[in-house]
Symmetry: C2
Subunit: 405 residues, 2 copies
């Protein structure tokens, strides 16, 4: 799922107060205990919000498929008509994760996907990690975005062509139309997505193993913008809003930096240095898209299921749709432990390699992470110099985390 909150800043004017390397002060919002999957913004909501302003400016990267999907009904009669129609449809109650995917789909993070996957999209995602569009072009799609139903739900739907998706309180959220119901081969889905079927992967346990034996795909129409009413909705900017802001700031390059651990001075150096490199490359006004993946900042609460090779591609793809054309990749973006064996599930460098070779991501410039460390000689963060390793103290988000608690 996409982190849906954002901070936009020029990294040359890096606003986070990080006084020293050994104990960075984190913005208060990063220390909040938040539900998993939700992201935390470190800046307030943008004042100007453009709904349905889906057209990118000339200088922004095109969304996948050329047009940013936005399937939230506009306020007014059409929204009310949709609400009435939903009341007459068979109902599918969404889990928390399902609802987050409705959110992701509704705002176009998964463009050109306009609803939960039908079987042809599901199979292409599993086998090719990309979707072929009507014009023969290919867009990246590394994660199945699917909705599971069980046998009883399938029977209740019968031969109806539309279903209503409802939240935990049975309030209609969306309509899925022109539906297709097909088998949910869970074992194959898990094996092809994670490269293992060993038990213990958090996302698998929560969203797949117990899910129904059928998947239902179709075109999504969302009644109103998805809100979580947790005090953080104002920080969740849509791709259209981000694009509007990038245009307003006259960005000619947008570089995305996604973090799962607290920001530290190594990150700050990296972001500042990236801006410098982009200016050297001739860009006039590079803008940073800082996308923290929130959640608890305790190491053992970091949502591990974000970190896998497929998800890394998903994160990159969704940033294209938000307007980013540069993507900074960490040392081991896909790193995760094997759920039952004492080893890494993937090689440390595979996430970066696979991302760099992914069909449909050619337009995105991958900027490899340079290793930053505290240089005791210079008494500041600097890029590691292998000729004098003894001068450097290493820091990482994982090491910093306990210091922040």
């Amino acid at each position: 799922m996409a982190p849906t909150a954002t901070f936009v800043a020029k990294s040359g004017n890096f606003p986070l107060p990080i006084p020293n390397a050994s104990r960075p002060q984190l913005p208060a919002s990063l220390r909040l205990a938040l539900p998993r999957h939700l992201s935390v913004a470190v800046a307030g909501r943008l004042s100007s919000v453009a709904r349905r302003a889906a057209t990118a400016s000339c200088s922004l990267i095109e969304p996948d498929g050329g047009r940013l999907v936005d399937v939230v009904a506009p306020e007014g009669p059409s929204r009310e008509a949709l609400r009435r129609e939903a009341a007459g449809c068979p109902q599918i109650r969404l889990s928390r994760i399902d609802l987050e995917w409705v959110h992701v789909l509704s705002e176009g993070w998964a463009s050109p996907l306009g609803g939960f996957m039908r079987e042809a999209e599901f199979l292409q995602t599993l086998h090719f990690n990309c979707l072929r569009l009507g014009d023969g072009s290919v867009v990246n799609m590394s994660l199945p975005i699917v909705l599971a139903i069980d046998d009883a739900q399938k029977r209740a739907i019968g031969d109806r062509r539309k279903v209503a998706l409802v939240d935990a309180r049975d309030k209609p959220v969306a309509i899925l139309s022109d539906i297709e119901i097909y088998k949910h081969n869970k074992e194959e889905r898990i094996a092809r997505t994670w490269g293992t079927t060993a038990p213990g992967l958090p996302y698998v346990e929560e969203a797949i193993t117990k899910a129904g034996n059928w998947l239902i795909g179709g075109d999504l129409e969302v009644i109103e913008r998805i809100k979580y009413n947790d005090g953080l909705d104002q920080y969740r900017l849509s791709p259209a809003e981000l694009r509007e802001e990038f245009s307003r700031r006259d960005a000619d390059a947008v570089f995305a930096f996604q973090l799962r651990n607290p920001v530290h001075n190594g990150h700050a150096l990296l972001m500042t240095d990236t801006r410098r490199r982009l200016l050297e490359m001739g860009y006039r006004n590079p803008v940073l898209l800082l996308h923290p993946l929130g959640g608890y900042t305790k190491a053992d609460d970091v949502p591990l299921h974000w970190r896998m090779k497929q998800h890394e591609k998903w994160h990159a793809k969704s940033r294209i749709n938000a307007g980013a054309n540069f993507y900074i990749v960490g040392r081991d973006p896909a790193g995760m432990s094997h759920p039952i064996e004492k080893r890494d599930l993937y090689d440390a460098d595979h996430g970066k390699k696979v991302l760099g070779m992914a069909p449909g991501l050619e337009r995105l410039n991958i900027l490899p992470f340079k290793v930053a460390a505290y240089d005791k000689k210079q008494q500041k963060m600097a890029f590691f110099d292998p000729s004098r390793p003894q001068d450097f103290l290493f820091i990482s988000g994982t090491k910093v985390t306990p210091l922040c608690l």
Copy 2:
């Protein structure tokens, strides 16, 4: 692995004696008990053989990557030099399956691959089922073609850049140069290739589970053409030889039909009908490439590991390299049982669907199998008419098999 023997025939002049539907007479060679993996030809060796005639004629489909790989050293000084060089290299003994892959690679069935995969190719194959070439184009590559070595072999190679590949009697077969050794993550390879890690898949048990923990990739140079000395080498035509024959016959369409079961009258009808359709489409001289996958003709000896979604794509891709531009796909080309559960591993129609959507196979025209059955009214094989199901007797390779023994 590719079936390496072939029969070329105009289906309009179908030469197999199949007098009736209930008990077809099979060509004697199809009833031979052959080692698995080997294919049986039903026609003799072509009289004119072109070695290194790698350029396709105008009317033939281009090989993947534009040039047919042929890495067999020509007879003469360069072959002898290669043999001498091999004697001085660290040696890797090939298993039977490894040797067959050397054969496949050496003749260009896997073009543009010119040797066992390095890690970048292995990862692209696992994740995207295709390889991106230097010019940005994409070719299909659905199966890892890799060579495993164990820890002791890795140590013995040390920092040498070339190794000799030797057969079961330690006779040098090839040199692999500019080598790259990388981790063999067997679990991930199996999960992403088959969509399951359940034990019991024949190819996995034979070629992966017991194999070494490292893979070695590099550029292949084969000392001389791979032969098996089993009396069948004359039937194993290379892609270059097939292309030469298609050109000689002035084919403007080549349609490939691959069988794992004995040929029966339903197949004959299908092949004849395909020729008719191609003529109707305006082709002047369509030629059939009939590619039986041999082995025992007992049902329980059919090499099951041929049948999986990835292998179906591999078969299609290798036929492009042999010059075929039409590919006839059966009802369930990827069908196989789950190794430990009582169900099919994949949906019956997924093999065909995935094949039709595979990146890099756009140039290949997929001709879906029409269901043929014995029409009791017409007293001959005919395409099934769903309006009068009671008139049809169904026949399939699996049903025919016991009749042939």
